[in-house]
Symmetry: C2
Subunit: 349 residues, 2 copies
């Protein structure tokens, strides 16, 4: 076993994101000394194949984290609140993919392409941002570095897999029912725990997560607050409208920005995107080249296109950004955080 | 026959919009002296039932418009360019639902709730605006009247029926193929005549109509230019990103606006919408009440909700507007123009 190899636990291993975390650890040859698969009581006992070995998923308890160096959490906010500090107390570093600690000022909220250095300040827990935030800030950062950033207005086109496996099942089942002209019975979307449920098949639902008192949804406020925190700019103006679509995987976003400088051109932004880590430019209107959710599914990169200057504001630009919400939006970003911790010597106790 | 009854021709009677025009004329008890159903050569000879009578669709020629008072055109821009003036020369008033004459300075571009008085200036042809423009300007107008309007940024979520019957058929067929895990073969969307075609089922495609040299699509430029013309304000800043979704009927729009005055509140906008003609307010986050394409399908009104103030700009507001793109977005608005012409005495020769 290499000195660098890491004892890893994945909490939420049976979920949509957990599955992608295991595949990403494998694809990236993450140096595993051992692997422990954990879940809530409901899913404990299931078995999962990884690198030719069969693992039985165990119910997560505080003791599960004894001798764990790195714990990747993705089992819901309440599980994170109950167990993250327990894991830290036992010597693990937690990368948490829920919203539980994202706005905690003592917890770094990290997209490695944007603010990897914040990892230096971790106290055991690092938060992985919301899926819709990650792909946007990664595309914004090269622009901000070049020309500053005053304002962001985003309208999202989000996939159902962001709401979990049950939402994906509901979308496909409901779609077949509508094609068959059978009645539908929505139970999961837009928010499983909310009062009402609406048709997602052949529809566009302007609610992701629950409503806040200010009329914005929690998802929209995540995009607002997390973007400011990750970019370390409380003055940055951010507004979001978040919409769920009948797409399995791949969030798309229509983004309007205003830069500080009026000197930037759309061509320069295209060059910035070509050079930026983790981003692929797909932008050639003459050949109908632009990002599509159907193309992004299963890919690690963030795809940016439709970059064009606003017709009136010399500091204004519009673009379209698409990424696999389970990969860069969740599992991949968590694994990249773990890789950065390893590279920066921040996993050793 | 009443003195007021009108000799009407519907050109494009076999299309998705033409079908809705007939149903709308019937539903509104439009005073018909006679009805003539016209189409391109391809669809001529088909029969259509209307008020218990069977009509055979005739191929449109210049002579088709002899003795016609009102001609509702919806058979494509090239047909309108070839025949609209011929119809006018024969004494008809043409309400044209294509983009052929919309930006012609001698042709009024009318949404009756916004600029009915422009009808006074018609020279025989009146243009019906683009579907995505109509529902937006109708929602903007009460706000502009109250507080002025400086800026509009819209991201659309548009239904496939806006691209015609073939697009609807393609969406449903492709959806079933994907559910069956069969290969798909896109031929129609995003634009039938364009070089490439993409998957629409379970996807979001950021192209409606063909690209212009400035990087915007023609659909986006329609929203920009038509909004300025209808609102008679060349200084109004408008930007659009238009996206096609796997929805049969019902365009949704995420709209950001800036008013001239900083005094307006979201509550006041809700009141304005309650009083505005042709608009239904659906806005109660506490009860998850907001407009949905699935609810708007088949309804005449424009539905507005998710109205909230921007978090930073005191003049900024966000809202969500949904309408049936074949009704208020096309057929209904054309029939309403005809009703206004009748009411204003502008159909008589």
């Amino acid at each position: 076993m290499s000195e660098e190899a890491v004892h890893v636990a994945v909490l939420g291993a049976t979920g949509a994101v957990g599955k992608q975390m295991l595949e990403t650890l494998d694809r990236h040859n993450f140096p595993l000394a051992s692997l422990k698969l954990l879940s809530s009581k409901r899913s404990a006992g299931k078995t999962i194949e990884f690198r030719g070995q069969t693992y039985t998923v165990e119910e997560a308890t505080p003791e599960s984290f004894d001798n764990v160096d790195l714990a990747l959490f993705s089992a819901g906010g309440s599980v994170s609140k109950a167990l993250a500090q327990e894991a830290v107390n036992r010597g693990a570093v937690v990368v948490d993919n829920t919203s539980a600690f994202r706005m905690d000022p003592t917890v770094p909220l990290v997209v490695p392409e944007v603010n990897e250095n914040e990892l230096q300040n971790h106290n055991g827990i690092i938060a992985n941002p919301n899926c819709s935030t990650i792909q946007m800030v990664a595309a914004l950062e090269p622009i901000r570095q070049k020309a500053g950033l005053k304002r962001v207005i985003v309208s999202t086109y989000q996939a159902v897999s962001g709401a979990g496996n049950d939402a994906v099942d509901e979308m496909y089942e409901q779609t077949q029912q509508i094609l068959n002209k059978e009645p539908i019975d929505p139970q999961v979307l837009p928010v499983g725990s909310d009062k009402k449920h609406y048709q997602i098949a052949f529809n566009a639902v302007p609610q992701i997560d629950v409503f806040q008192d200010n009329g914005y949804t929690f998802e929209e406020m995540k995009m607002v607050n997390e973007t400011k925190k990750i970019m370390n700019d409380a003055e940055l103006s951010v507004a979001a409208t978040c919409v769920r679509l009948p797409v399995e995987t791949g969030h798309s976003e229509s983004v309007y920005i205003e830069t500080e400088s009026a000197d930037l051109t759309a061509e320069q932004i295209k060059e910035l995107m070509t050079e930026a880590p983790g981003i692929t430019l797909q932008d050639d209107p003459s050949q109908q080249v632009y990002p599509l959710a159907s193309d992004a599914h299963g890919k690690e990169d963030i795809f940016v296109g439709r970059i064009r200057k606003d017709l009136d504001d010399p500091c204004g630009f519009h673009f379209w950004v698409v990424a696999d919400n389970l990969l860069k939006g969740a599992a991949l970003n968590s694994v990249q955080i773990a890789q950065s911790l390893l590279k920066m010597g921040l996993l050793q106790k």
